[in-house]
């Protein structure tokens, strides 16, 4: 178990360094960071001054080392637009993004869980297929389109819910459900695959051969075995979800870290972009580590090996 966690820890460290490097490279992709940040109107004198001020005149390895060293301490420089430490800006907006991503994740996972159990326990082939078909169709629609249509139907036509912004708990509903629908579809299909794999395994037959009821076989035998492999996927997915709220935040004008980063991209405020990318990636790494730890606790085969 220790070697398992050790390997995962090494991977986490490599990931953090990888992301820091990518963040470093992004700014230098088209040659001059000064040109990128100051825009086409910058004079050569401006650029030289800028390069000196931000250390862009030193050698690349030197710059990388400084950047990684500062980055590890949470220092990505000040936002060009706001003149505040960019990490602070990101951390200020992060809770709002976590609220959105977290509620969508929970909504999706719980609904998928309930749907799967209902289908397994009471449903037949027809209900199962219906659920899978709906899932496939929901997954085929881009979430931004789902969001725009949700605004049209629930905010404009039915006037039930607020369309934009984050005023009070009701404004969370539309973006969270839109994002969550995709999650439901994903997990319903994953659960279905996982249960299908279990169904034909020998231990299920053994349980029936003892005279066990279908309900108990599904709940006590198949469910733990079917849910375990989903844990890893759920971890990866939650990470991508937090990084992926940017689109839905834009659709609903939700003031989150995604919006912040997206706007920083448009405004060429690169310290904020770098801080945002690294902070969210670090969160991602943390989530995956927690999942690995959970896995190690829940699966006796990992725990004891």
């Amino acid at each position: 178990m220790l070697s398992f966690l050790g390997r995962r820890l090494v991977r986490a460290v490599i990931t953090v360094f990888g992301v820091l490097t990518i963040a470093f490279v992004i700014v230098r992709l088209n040659g001059s960071p000064a040109q990128l940040m100051l825009g086409p109107d910058a004079t050569p004198e401006n650029i030289v001054a800028f390069d000196r001020a931000y250390g862009f005149d030193r050698s690349i390895p030197e710059q990388l080392l400084t950047f990684v060293g500062n980055g590890l301490q949470g220092d990505f420089g000040e936002s060009i637009r706001f003149g505040r430490p960019s990490v602070e800006l990101v951390l200020d907006q992060l809770p709002s993004t976590l609220l959105l991503a977290g509620s969508a994740f929970l909504f999706g996972l719980l609904l998928a869980f309930v749907l799967t159990l209902v289908v397994e326990l009471y449903g037949g082939r027809r209900l199962r297929n219906a659920v899978l078909w709906i899932g496939a169709l929901v997954q085929a629609v881009p979430t931004f389109l789902l969001g725009v249509l949700a605004i049209l139907v629930f905010a404009i036509w039915l006037k039930l819910l607020p369309a934009l912004g984050a005023d009070g708990p009701t404004s969370l509903i539309l973006p969270a459900v839109t994002l969550g629908l995709f999650e439901v579809a994903l997990y319903v299909r994953l659960f279905a695959v996982s249960f299908d794999e279990q169904r034909s395994l020998d231990y299920v037959r053994t349980a029936y051969s003892k005279g066990q009821s279908r309900r108990a076989v599904v709940l006590h035998h198949m469910l733990p075995n079917a849910a375990l492999p989903l844990l890893t996927v759920a971890g990866i997915n939650l990470g991508q979800l937090i990084g992926g709220t940017v689109v839905i935040e834009t659709v609903f004008n939700w003031p989150g870290a995604g919006q912040l980063i997206y706007q920083a991209v448009s405004a060429k405020d690169y310290p904020v972009v770098q801080a945002g990318v690294v902070v969210i990636a670090a969160l991602f790494v943390l989530i995956n580590l927690v999942v690995d730890l959970l896995y190690a606790v829940l699966d006796p085969r990992v725990r004891l090996s």
């Binding site: 231990y203 279908r214 699966d299």
Partner: protein, 349 residues
């Protein structure tokens, strides 16, 4: 006990059982009209190659056919109950209590994320709801001791993968005999184990069976196992019963060419290697079985004759209980004599 069927009623009576599953071009008969009885306190060996339908037959008895397979016709009577028509809710009162099954691979047959103790307790509690938690625990430990697993208390908190293959199969046996079943179905119980452990596990299984007084069907491809463990034997091939009788009858004087071929190929391990006999060809796939006798394409006795190719022979049983499904069973002994002569030993090899 090696004699004609004992008096009384059979524990299990299978008649004309047909199990089909859906193939790409319509249903395929994996088990094609199988009949046999299991009498009280006897061990019935069911012998056949893989694909002969032996496991499907017993899974049909349990009502645990794999998806896609179903009983199409025939009857399965267990202690006076019609097992084919028995709804699942009633069937499960029988499973684990009166009929219990031991599967081939003890690793995959146990829930990998559930402790041994819980899996054993489940088997106990299902048909003894009145037992307290402590009583269930005590019974579990008692069962583990019965199958000679040392340090029972510690094993109860172990997971399947922490036990050796032999230990796991002992636990499976313990689960199966939790309620002193009338019929034990053992499906290749030692095939997945190391050769060195097979004998031990088999000893445990035999001892427990006679202690409990259960009848047992021992599904295997190993003729030696049948010879040493079974009272009677059913030889299956291509979904049909080829020959049935007491172990003495079948082994000493095989009446079906298939049985004779099996014996010739397996019992001569002590002879020179170049004399070893092998039945020519391979068993037909379920969807490519010949119209007449299923064995005819490989049969050294009657395979070339029109009758064998056109007509499926029925199972004819004599007064002593020795049954054979062959149009020319009278000629088998002559073939056996012939094939034993070294000069003719090269047949088919």
């Amino acid at each position: 006990m090696h004699e004609a069927p004992p008096p009384g009623r059979p524990v299990l009576s299978v008649r004309d059982l047909v199990v089909v599953f859906d193939g790409p071009h319509g249903p395929l008969r994996a088990v094609d009209g199988v009949s046999f009885d299991v009498w009280p306190n006897e061990v019935l060996g069911i012998v056949g190659e893989s694909g002969s339908g032996k496991s499907l037959t017993m899974l049909a008895v349990m009502g645990l056919l794999p998806p896609g397979a179903r009983v199409e016709s025939g009857s399965i009577e267990f202690r006076g109950r019609d097992m084919v028509a028995l709804p699942w809710e009633q069937r499960r009162q029988v499973l684990g209590k009166e009929i219990a099954m031991i599967f081939q691979d003890p690793m995959t047959s146990m829930n990998p994320v559930m402790k041994i103790g819980r899996q054993l307790a489940e088997a106990i509690r299902l048909h003894a709801r009145e037992l307290s938690r402590a009583q269930v625990q005590a019974r579990a430990a008692e069962l583990l001791a019965l199958v000679r697993i040392p340090d029972a208390q510690r094993r109860l908190t172990a997971y399947p993968h922490e036990l050796s293959g032999g230990m796991r199969q002992r636990v499976m046996i313990a689960m199966a005999v939790a309620h002193d079943p009338a019929l034990l179905i053992a499906d290749e119980p030692t095939t997945a184990l190391d050769v060195t452990i097979q004998a031990q596990v088999l000893r445990v299984l035999r001892r427990i069976r006679s202690q409990v007084g259960a009848s047992m069907t021992l599904i295997t491809h190993d003729l030696g196992l049948v010879a040493e463990s079974a009272d009677r034997v059913v030889v299956m091939y291509g979904g049909r019963v080829m020959e049935t009788g007491t172990v003495e009858q079948v082994f000493a004087a095989p009446a079906h060419p298939y049985t004779a071929g099996l014996l010739a190929s397996s019992l001569r391990v002590d002879g020179p290697l170049d004399e070893a006999y092998a039945i020519p060809g391979t068993p037909p796939q379920v969807d490519a079985r010949p119209a007449g006798c299923v064995f005819s394409p490989r049969c050294p006795v009657g395979g070339h004759r029109d009758l064998c190719r056109a007509d499926k022979p029925g199972l004819h049983t004599d007064e002593a209980g020795h049954g054979v499904a062959c149009h020319y069973s009278g000629e088998t002994s002559a073939w056996v004599e012939l094939s034993r002569r070294p000069s003719d030993a090269a047949v088919g090899t």
